[in-house]
């Protein structure tokens, strides 16, 4: 991989983008098919069983069992999605999208890429971050770092406006999540103050609200009508179209033939919606967004008037009523300084360029970031004479990183011989009870502690640090006995097992061989497979090797390699053919 190129990827709920940083600025990669840098995050199989990713998948994606939408929303969960005859983990489907983006960039650059910075929503829970890292692995990418989407967008702005001094809010309203990030920029330094968000609120909810509205109108028009599941699913694309149309037009009209059935007779769905009706239907969603802004401002005690600029990021910010909301809440017109669809991928590539020293730290933009969640340990504390187990924070969410802290605790009694230290995660920022936090599974014990000679319980020192890569270290020491333990927590600590990953990789590779690229070699592969049993000795081994090389190359999604292996196999088969004559 060329040392002067850095790559950033925005793996979004509804669209994904890849951007390369070359020379002094980021450059978006367009999809060779659609000629657009915005690649819909859609994965589907067509009638022939070919794998389609992006715009090409659109005609098939809403047919049940044939396509997957919005897989990002399932990241970090155990939920599976079905594609044809198989079930896939969300990270496996995400890996397919990543492979597609990687493929696009490699075609444009004519070289393979490996190291990338991937963006995630600022309030993405840890499990989802880990799943994202796994998806990168499965796609054959090395993830330099995960960057928070709003921070990335701010970087895209910052790299071009290095001299400005201002308070910035990034209002990142994408397909699946809403993030509000407050940062301050001065002397080319982007100082992130805090991020707040609703991980379950995005443009897709606007679509759902529209679908509910359309169906409820239809059912009112034809009481007792039955709507097949298939029709309901097909409405997704229609709702999206309607939403997009209403951002620029006051009305949207359309007809879906044979949408429902009454006593066996088909009924057409006639959609006729005004922008006002749409805005009324999404009212509750806007309320949630409003609450989120309020919280973000309140938590850091920021007056809207102190904000100099609001950057809009994410497709949902195109919707007029969302823009109105932003204007109403911040008292100023949102900025059009960054492209809402592209800023995140561009910022991710900038971060990749910083991480690989393409942008020098002396002159370039510098970023300080905050911890996305808090970490802490359970301690026993006395409450009105009762001992209860509570969560003790060692780092709060939205703390500037790197960060370190040292605290001294005490064992419970002089004869305590074991102490267990276990790290928990806080996403709320004010967790107090163990119910409020999640076990990270990272723990260690100091055992066989000798009794304290003076009858006073031993003090226990805890030293905790959290570095810029999101790796937390904890050392616990009993100074009197010199006993100590160390804990390391990283967001790579709790991911898919190696065994699972190997299996998943096989599955992803297998799926990827159904892509049109792989299809190009289908005939030749079949031919080679049929030939193998008929051959003997060296020739058999050589053909097997050539075949395996091509399959591996295809699976890795490496175009150049595939082409080379394909050419080699073609030559081999050609020689066999001509030899036989």
């Amino acid at each position: 991989m060329n040392k002067n190129i850095a790559v950033g990827i925005d793996l979004g709920t509804s669209t994904s983008e890849i951007c390369i940083f070359r020379g002094k600025e980021p450059q978006m990669v367009s999809d060779p098919g659609s000629k657009s840098p915005i690649v819909p995050s859609l994965v589907a199989c067509n009638k022939r069983g070919e794998l389609l990713v992006g715009e090409d998948a659109r005609p098939w994606v809403d047919i049940p069992g044939q396509g997957v939408r919005e897989v990002k929303r399932k990241m970090g969960t155990a939920e599976k999605v079905r594609l044809l005859d198989k079930e896939y983990r969300p990270e496996e489907i995400s890996a397919v999208i990543l492979k597609k983006l990687k493929d696009n960039a490699e075609q444009m650059l004519g070289q393979t890429i490996k190291e990338v910075v991937l963006s995630v929503p600022a309030n993405f829970p840890d499990a989802a971050r880990q799943a994202t890292l796994d998806a990168g692995d499965l796609a054959g990418l090395k993830i330099l770092r995960l960057i928070n989407e709003p921070t990335a967008a701010a970087l895209a702005f910052g790299i071009k406006n290095i001299g400005s001094e201002e308070q910035i809010v990034v209002f990142d309203f994408g397909g699946g999540t809403l993030d509000i990030t407050v940062l301050e920029m001065m002397e080319g330094i982007l100082d992130v103050k805090a991020s707040f968000g609703d991980t379950q609120l995005g443009g897709k909810d606007f679509d759902e609200a529209l679908i509910d509205l359309i169906i409820s109108n239809f059912s009112k028009q034809y009481p007792g009508v039955s709507i097949p599941d298939r029709a309901r699913a097909a409405l997704k694309g229609e709702a999206e179209k309607c939403k997009v149309a209403l951002t620029t037009k006051p009305r949207y009209e359309s007809t879906v033939p044979s949408f429902g059935f009454m006593r066996g007779d088909p009924l057409d769905l006639e959609i006729d919606l005004s922008r006002g009706q749409f805005e009324e239907a999404v009212g509750p969603l806007l309320d949630r967004a409003r609450e989120c802004i309020r919280q973000a401002l309140k938590a850091k005690k920021i007056r809207p008037s102190a904000i100099d600029r609001v950057l809009l990021v994410g497709g949902t910010t195109y919707i007029p009523c969302v823009r109105r909301l932003v204007q109403e809440m911040f008292g100023k017109n949102p900025s059009i300084d960054v492209n809402p669809d592209l800023a995140v991928a561009m910022g991710a590539s900038v971060q990749a360029a910083i991480a690989t020293d393409i942008i020098s730290p002396e002159q370039g933009v510098i970023l300080t970031d905050v911890s996305p969640f808090g970490l802490g340990i359970p301690i026993v504390t006395s409450f009105g004479g009762r001992d209860i187990l509570v969560y003790e924070s060692l780092i709060n969410p939205n703390t500037t990183i790197p960060y370190s802290v040292k605290k001294v605790y005490s064992l419970l009694h002089a004869n305590q011989d074991t102490v267990d230290i276990r790290l928990y995660q806080d996403h709320t920022g004010n967790a107090k009870l163990m119910e409020d936090v999640k076990d990270t599974g990272v723990n260690a014990s100091i055992k066989k502690i000798p009794p304290a000679p003076d009858g006073k319980p031993h003090p226990l020192e805890i030293e905790f640090s959290y570095d810029v890569n999101g790796i937390a270290r904890l050392e616990a020491v009993i100074p009197a006995t010199k006993q100590r333990v160390n804990l390391v927590y990283s967001n790579t600590g709790n991911r898919m097992s190696e065994e699972d990953k190997i299996k998943a990789k096989e599955k992803v590779d297998d799926l990827w061989t159904k892509s049109p690229l792989a299809k190009r070699y289908e005939g030749m592969i079949e031919k080679a497979k049929n030939l193998v049993p008929t051959l003997g000795g060296d020739k058999k081994t050589a053909l097997q090797t050539a075949l395996r090389d091509l399959l591996n190359a295809l699976a890795s999604g490496d175009n150049a390699k595939s082409e080379k292996a394909g050419d080699f196999l073609a030559d081999f088969l050609f020689d066999l053919e001509t030899e036989g004559r």
Binding site: E184, M186, E187, G188, I189, D191, I354, P361, I366, T368, F383, G384, G385, R386, I388, L389, V390, T400, I401, P402, Y403, S404, N430, K432, L433, M434, E435, D467, V468
Partner: protein, 484 residues
């Protein structure tokens, strides 16, 4: 202090907020987080402190007066432990003058004001703290206590309700902030208790019982529920609640059971001291359940039981003319004494009764006492020594002097000596028990408060119990007869 924050940022002590911000960004440029994480952390810590006016003020104060404040706080700690609120408050005032941003000192000062019953100053102190740190449940709750305590001391029902409502507003906020602290639920229940809204008081208790996750049902809350049941006269519920407590205690833990027994017994003793036997009895019984082999509790429980039974017997005895009037009078006299009825001319009434007994037809007296012992054993037990003595005298021919006056001095002396202190044996028992459990126990102080807030309900208690009311009236009526 590891590093002087001002020199870390390379700014002057009097730097403006803007200068501090600029300095921070300048330092980050020099020492970016990715390259020099250790240095960056110090820079960030300096910026976090100096860019927050409250934290900066605190930092400045502590840099200047940190040592002095620490010494003062150590003294405060000792004064407060000893309950010397006045002295503690004087020291605390010094602390908050030196370091006005030390919230902990303000909070302690507020507590001193509260203990000194300087309610206005306490209210002001906690109100300021709540304004400063609206997220701290402790300040909210302490502000609530300022009102709750005034409610406890108020005499009029209406005032009590008003204080209760004001207190509750703050406790509710505290519960929102700290839903796992059972004490706050008790506080809310107490605000309802002030309004005599027992239903809500109990409902909040029930929430408090399970407020702390992963903990057994909360003893303090359950115990407090007993108090409410007591006020309502639902003695069966006290029994049920005691069973709930029993079930929540760790199995095989004798200490826990003994502790529970002690708490119930202490509470009962407070009521016993106030001669509210009817209320003390169920609590003694509950205490016995936890610690069945405690002899002291058993004796006290029996004594309260028989006293109460004597009340009930009296209704029947009043109509029983086989017992002559002076004997009935003596029973009433003891009952009144047991119940702490305020009797004027106590000695004179007593003398009158004795005179009447000695002047009566002695076989009637003897048969009355025998009947008393047999049919009304609990009344007899009010002072068995005295009744035995009367019986002995009535049966002894030496004193047979119907119509004659046996007013020899030695005789009178003997009678008075015997009759003077009812339940003297139990009083001794009580003292032993108190010495053993109550004194030197910090919880003892709590009980003084318990009784204090309990007293207003006693009038109600008697009002809702006709037999008790009738008894009081009869007592006074009967006794009036003996007045000169």
């Amino acid at each position: 202090m590891a590093a002087d924050y001002y020199s870390v940022l390379e700014v002057k002590q009097n730097a403006t907020a803007e200068e501090i911000k600029k300095a921070y960004f300048r330092q980050v440029r020099k020492h970016p987080p990715e390259k020099e994480p250790e240095l960056f952390m110090t820079i960030r810590a300096a910026y976090d402190t100096l860019s927050d006016p409250k934290a900066r003020k605190n930092y400045d104060d502590m840099q200047k007066h940190g040592g002095e404040v620490q010494e003062l706080m150590a003294e405060v700690d000792q004064f407060m432990k000893d309950g010397k609120w006045d002295q503690a408050s004087k020291k605390l005032k010094k602390v908050v003058v030196l370091a006005p941003s030390t919230e902990a000192a303000w909070n302690l000062l507020g507590i001193c004001f509260l203990r000194l019953q300087q309610y206005d100053r306490a209210e002001q102190t906690f109100t300021d703290l709540v304004k400063r740190s609206p997220d701290v449940a402790l300040y909210r709750s302490n502000l609530g206590h300022v009102f709750l305590e005034q409610g406890d001391r108020a005499k009029e029902d209406r005032d009590r309700s008003d204080w209760g409502r004001r207190a509750r507003e703050h406790f509710r906020k505290a519960v929102e902030l700290e839903p796992f602290n059972p004490d706050t639920y008790i506080s809310i229940a107490r605000t309802y208790q002030l309004q005599r809204d027992y239903e809500n008081a109990l409902a909040w208790c029930e929430r408090g019982v399970t407020a702390t996750p992963n903990a057994p049902p909360d003893f303090e809350v359950l115990f407090y529920m007993c108090e409410i049941y007591l006020i309502q006269g639902q003695t069966d519920m006290i029994d049920k609640t005691a069973k709930r407590i029993m079930a929540s205690l760790p199995a095989g833990n004798d200490d826990a059971r003994k502790y529970a027994a002690m708490r119930f017994a202490q509470f009962a003793l407070e009521l016993y001291k106030a001669k509210i036997y009817v209320l003390a009895e169920p609590l003694f019984k509950a205490a016995l359940k936890f610690d069945p082999h405690n002899e002291d509790i058993r004796v006290l429980a029996e004594y309260t039981t028989s006293t109460i039974a004597a009340d009930k017997e009296f209704t029947a005895m009043k109509e029983d003319y086989q017992i002559v009037e002076p004997i009935r009078g003596l029973v009433i006299y003891y009952l009144a004494d047991v119940y702490g009825e305020k009797i004027d001319n106590k000695q004179q009434i007593f003398d009158n009764i004795i005179t009447e007994i000695t002047q009566a037809y002695q076989p009637d007296i003897a048969s009355s006492v025998r009947r008393l012992r047999k049919v009304y054993p609990n009344s007899y037990k009010l002072n068995p020594e005295a009744f035995d003595k009367i019986l002995e005298m009535a049966e002894n021919p030496a004193y047979q002097g119907y119509g004659g006056y046996g007013g020899e001095e030695p005789y009178c002396f003997i009678v008075t000596a015997t009759f003077g202190t009812p339940q003297s044996r139990e009083v001794q028992r009580f003292r032993d028990f108190r010495d053993q459990y109550l004194l030197n126990n910090p919880l003892g102080r709590w009980f003084v408060a318990t009784y204090y807030r309990f007293a207003p309900y006693l009038a109600d208690f008697i009002r809702t119990r006709p037999w008790l009311k009738r008894l009081c009236a009869t007592l006074l009526g009967f006794l009036a007869k003996f007045l000169p």
